[in-house]
C-alpha cells in the first residue's frame, strides 16, 4: 500500500479533491429531490388538492352551481339521513358477512392448492384466479342474467326440485343482498387466494415436518402454523377487502341498481345518486364521501388492534 503514514484512510479519500466531493453530494441530493419532487407534486395535485377541495366542498350545500357555506349542517344532516344510515347498514352487512367468508374460503383454497402432490395445480389456480381479470361491469351484467327470475340459477334449482317457485334473487330485499354477496365473493376470492399462495411459498417446510414428527394433525398444523405464519398477509387482505367493500359500487349499480327500495344500496351509490340522479347537491355528496373516509379509518384501526400488530 502506498498510503503515507501520517494520513488516515478518510483523509486520503477526501483531501485530494474536497470540492468535487461536496458538489457531487449536492448534485446527488438535487437529483434525488428532483425525482421525489415530481412524484410529490403529482400526488399533491391529483390527490391532496382534490381531498382538501372536497373537504371544503363538504361544508357547502345547494343545487348545482348555487353552493353556499352552511357550516356543519351537512354533517348534522348526515347523521339524521335515514337513506345514508340504510346505505351504511347495507355496506356493513356486506362487510361483516362477505369479508370473513371470502378470507376463509381463500385461505382454504390456497392451502389445498399448495399441496405438493396435487395434480393440475396450475389449472386450478388459474381457474380460481380468472374471475379477477373480468371487468366489474361485464361480470355484474352476467350475474344479473344468471339470477334473473327465469335465469339459469332458478332453472337449475327448479329442475332439481330444491325450490317450488323461482326465488326473486333481484327483487326481494333479502335475496338481493345474497346475490350481491355471492357476486363479490366470486369475483374477489381468487384475488386474495394469490396473496396467501405466495405467502405459503415462504413458509419453511421443515416447520411442518417437525410438527408432523411431533404428531400434529393437519387441522392443528393449519391453525397453529399456517394461520400464525400468514397473519401479516391476512391482515393486509382483510384491510384491502374492507376498503374495497366500503367503496362497493359497480356490482350493486349494475345488478340491482340499489333496489328493491334501498335494500342493496351502498354508500358509494348514494354519492352517485346525490350528484347525478337527483338534483345535484355536490356539497352534501362530498360530506357523504368523507363519511366513507371516516369509516375506512375506523375499520382499519379496529383490524390493526384486533390483529394485535404493534408495529
Amino acid at each position: 500500500m502506498n498510503i503515507p503514514k501520517n494520513l488516515g484512510p478518510e483523509e486520503v479519500a477526501i483531501k485530494p479533491a474536497p470540492r468535487p466531493a461536496r458538489s457531487l453530494r449536492l448534485k446527488n441530493t438535487l437529483v434525488g429531490w428532483s425525482f421525489v419532487c415530481i412524484a410529490s407534486l403529482l400526488i399533491g395535485i391529483f390527490y391532496f388538492y382534490p381531498m382538501v377541495q372536497a373537504l371544503i366542498l363538504s361544508f357547502q350545500s345547494g343545487t348545482g352551481v348555487h353552493l353556499s357555506f352552511v357550516g356543519f349542517e351537512n354533517y348534522v344532516r348526515l347523521f339524521q339521513d335515514p337513506v345514508f344510515l340504510t346505505t351504511v347498514k347495507n355496506t356493513v352487512i356486506y362487510l361483516i358477512i362477505q369479508v370473513p367468508v371470502m378470507i376463509l374460503l381463500a385461505l382454504f383454497l390456497s392451502v389445498v392448492l399448495n399441496n405438493k402432490t396435487l395434480k393440475w395445480k396450475g389449472f386450478f389456480r388459474t381457474a380460481i384466479f380468472l374471475p379477477c381479470v373480468t371487468s366489474l361491469v361485464a361480470y355484474s351484467v352476467v350475474f344479473k342474467y344468471l339470477f334473473a327470475p327465469d335465469g339459469i340459477v332458478n332453472m337449475m334449482l327448479l329442475k332439481i326440485n330444491l325450490v317450488a317457485e323461482p326465488i326473486q334473487w333481484l327483487t326481494d330485499p333479502f335475496w338481493a343482498k345474497i346475490t350481491i354477496i355471492l357476486a363479490i365473493t366470486w369475483r374477489w376470492t381468487g384475488y386474495n387466494m394469490i396473496f396467501y399462495l405466495s405467502a405459503l411459498q415462504n413458509v419453511d417446510r421443515s416447520i411442518y415436518e417437525a410438527a408432523k414428527i411431533d404428531g400434529a394433525s393437519a387441522v392443528q398444523q393449519f391453525f397453529k402454523i399456517t394461520i400464525p405464519m400468514l397473519k401479516p398477509i391476512i391482515l393486509f387482505t382483510s384491510i384491502t377487502s374492507t376498503i374495497g367493500t366500503l367503496q362497493l359500487f359497480d356490482e350493486v349499480m349494475n345488478i340491482t341498481a340499489g333496489g328493491p327500495g334501498n335494500a342493496t344500496m351502498t354508500i358509494s351509490q348514494y354519492i352517485y345518486n346525490l350528484s347525478f340522479k337527483y338534483t345535484p347537491d355536490f356539497g352534501y355528496a362530498a360530506t357523504v364521501s368523507y363519511g366513507i373516509v371516516f369509516l375506512i379509518v375506523i375499520f382499519s384501526i379496529i383490524q390493526f388492534k384486533a390483529a394485535g400488530d404493534k408495529k
Partner: protein, 424 residues
C-alpha cells in the same frame, strides 16, 4: 442533469400549451352544431330527420348527432356545467322532462332561452311547465310520452272481455278484468320493476297530482289523495298476484314479447318494442289510460317524454333557429316523424296531419296514432319540479313497507317527512 432540466422545461411548455389551447375556439359564428341524444331508434332518428329537413332551409349548417346513453348525458352535463366549463359541450341536448327543472335551476346561465324561436302556444299545454323556468321558455318540446294501456285482446277474449270494456275505465274495473284474465289464461296482468314507480307517476298525473306541490319544491305526499289511491291499487294488484316482477329493461321487454302478461300501461314510445314480436300481430289493442276511481281524474296521462335544450355557447342562435324551424314549425319533418318512427309529437298543428290517421294492422286496424294524439290534448298539466327521482327513491322504499302490511297513513307520513328532509 441538464437533460432533466430541459425535459422539465419542455413538459411545462406542453402543459401550458394544453391549457391555453381552448381560447381560440370561441368563434361566435360557428356553423358546427353538435347534438347529444339517447335512443338510436327514436330520438336520434328523429334528430336525423330534422337535420335532413333543415338542409333545404340552410345547407350551411353542419349538424353532428352524437348518441350517448341518457345516464351518460346527465353525468357529463352535471360535471361540466358545475365546473363552469362548456368545452366539449354540445349545442343541443335532449333532457327528460322529469329532470329539466333540476338542470334549469342548478345551472341557470348555462342554457339559452328559445322564446324567439318557437311559439309556446302551438305546443301541448302540459309540456310547457317542465320546460320553462322563471317565465322564460328553455326547452323545445319534443315527444309526447302520452300513456296508454296496451292490452292482449286474445287473452281478454278468453276471459269474455274485449278492449271495448276498457274504454273510459277506472283502475278498479281494470283490475277486475285482470283477475278474470288470470283466472282464464293463467297470465299475470302487468310486469313491474319494484324500483321504478312509473306506473304510480302515470296514475297520479291522471288527476293532476304530482309528488310535489305546484311550486315544484314542496313535497306533497301525506295529504296526496291521488298518490294514496295509487298505492292502494298497487297493493291490490300485488296481493291478487297480478304483478310479475322484473329487474331491468330487457326482462321487461321479454315479458311483453313472450306473452307473459296481458296488459302494459306505458308511454307510447313502447310501441316499437311491442311490435318487435311480429307473431303477436293483431293480438294487441291500445286502450285509454285508466283513471283513478272515486276522484277527479281523466283517461289520459304521460310517462317520460323529453325536450331539446340549447346550451349557452357559441352557435346558440343558429341551434335555436334550427330547432324552431323543424320541431317548432309546420313542415315535412313532423309527417316523417310519424310515418318513419311512429312517434307522437307535441306540436299541435301537426297532430291533424294525414299520417296520424293510419290504421295499424298490428293493433287490429286501430288508428293508434290518432288515439294517442287525441289523448295528448287531455293530459293534465302538472309541474314535475325539482325532486322527482329523490322522492321516487323514498317512495320505492316506503312502498315495500306498505306491501309488507304497514298502515298506509303511517307510510305516507313517514315518506313526507323523509322527503322534506331530503328535497331541499
Amino acid at each position: 442533469m441538464k437533460k432533466f432540466l430541459v425535459l422539465l422545461f419542455i413538459s411545462m411548455l406542453v402543459l401550458s400549451a394544453c391549457s391555453s389551447g381552448s381560447n381560440s375556439e370561441a368563434d361566435a359564428d360557428t356553423n358546427d352544431i353538435k347534438v347529444w341524444a339517447w335512443d338510436p331508434n327514436f330520438n336520434v332518428k328523429a334528430m336525423e330527420l330534422a337535420k335532413e329537413a333543415y338542409k333545404e332551409e340552410n345547407s350551411e349548417l353542419n349538424i353532428e348527432i352524437i348518441e350517448n346513453a341518457q345516464d351518460d348525458i346527465i353525468q357529463k352535463l352535471n360535471t361540466s356545467l358545475s365546473s363552469g366549463t362548456t368545452k366539449g359541450m354540445p349545442n343541443i341536448v335532449l333532457i327528460e322532462d322529469y329532470r329539466a327543472q333540476s338542470f334549469l335551476r342548478s345551472y341557470p346561465d348555462m342554457f339559452y332561452a328559445v322564446d324567439d324561436a318557437i311559439n309556446t302556444e302551438e305546443f301541448a299545454k302540459y309540456k310547457i311547465p317542465p320546460t320553462s323556468f322563471e317565465g322564460k321558455q328553455y326547452g323545445v318540446p319534443f315527444d309526447s310520452g302520452v300513456a296508454g294501456l296496451y292490452v292482449r285482446t286474445d287473452y281478454l277474449e278468453e276471459a269474455g272481455y274485449s278492449s271495448e270494456d276498457l274504454q273510459n275505465a277506472d283502475w278498479e274495473q281494470v283490475i277486475e278484468i285482470g283477475k278474470a284474465v288470470k283466472e282464464a289464461t293463467g297470465k299475470q296482468m302487468i310486469t313491474q320493476d319494484p324500483k321504478d314507480l312509473g306506473l304510480l307517476r302515470m296514475m297520479i298525473q291522471t288527476s293532476g297530482a304530482w309528488y310535489l306541490e305546484e311550486d315544484g319544491v314542496t313535497p306533497n305526499i301525506a295529504n296526496n289523495e291521488a298518490l294514496k289511491e295509487a298505492f292502494r291499487l298497487y297493493k291490490e294488484m300485488i296481493d291478487a298476484d297480478l304483478v310479475k316482477p322484473h329487474a331491468d329493461w330487457s326482462q321487461f321487454i321479454a315479458s311483453i314479447n313472450n306473452g307473459d302478461i296481458s296488459m302494459v300501461p306505458s308511454g307510447n314510445w313502447i310501441t316499437p318494442s311491442i311490435k318487435a314480436e311480429a307473431s303477436q300481430s293483431g293480438k294487441w289493442a291500445v286502450a285509454p289510460f285508466p283513471k283513478l276511481p272515486g276522484m277527479e281524474s281523466v283517461n289520459a296521462s304521460n310517462l317520460g317524454g323529453s325536450s331539446w335544450y340549447v346550451l349557452n355557447i357559441p352557435g346558440k342562435e343558429k341551434a335555436a333557429e334550427f330547432l324552431g324551424k323543424t320541431f317548432g314549425a309546420e313542415g315535412k319533418f313532423h309527417q316523417q316523424f310519424v310515418e318513419e318512427i311512429g312517434g307522437v309529437g307535441t306540436y299541435q298543428p301537426a297532430l291533424e296531419g294525414d299520417a296520424y290517421q293510419a290504421e295499424d294492422e298490428f293493433f287490429g286496424g286501430q288508428k293508434i296514432l290518432s288515439d294517442f294524439a287525441s289523448w295528448t290534448e287531455e293530459i293534465p298539466q302538472v309541474n314535475y319540479g325539482l325532486h322527482t327521482y329523490v322522492i321516487e327513491d323514498i317512495l320505492a322504499n316506503e312502498i315495500q313497507k306498505y306491501l309488507d302490511g304497514e298502515n298506509l297513513d303511517t307510510v305516507m307520513d313517514n315518506a313526507q317527512s323523509l322527503a322534506e328532509q331530503q328535497a331541499k
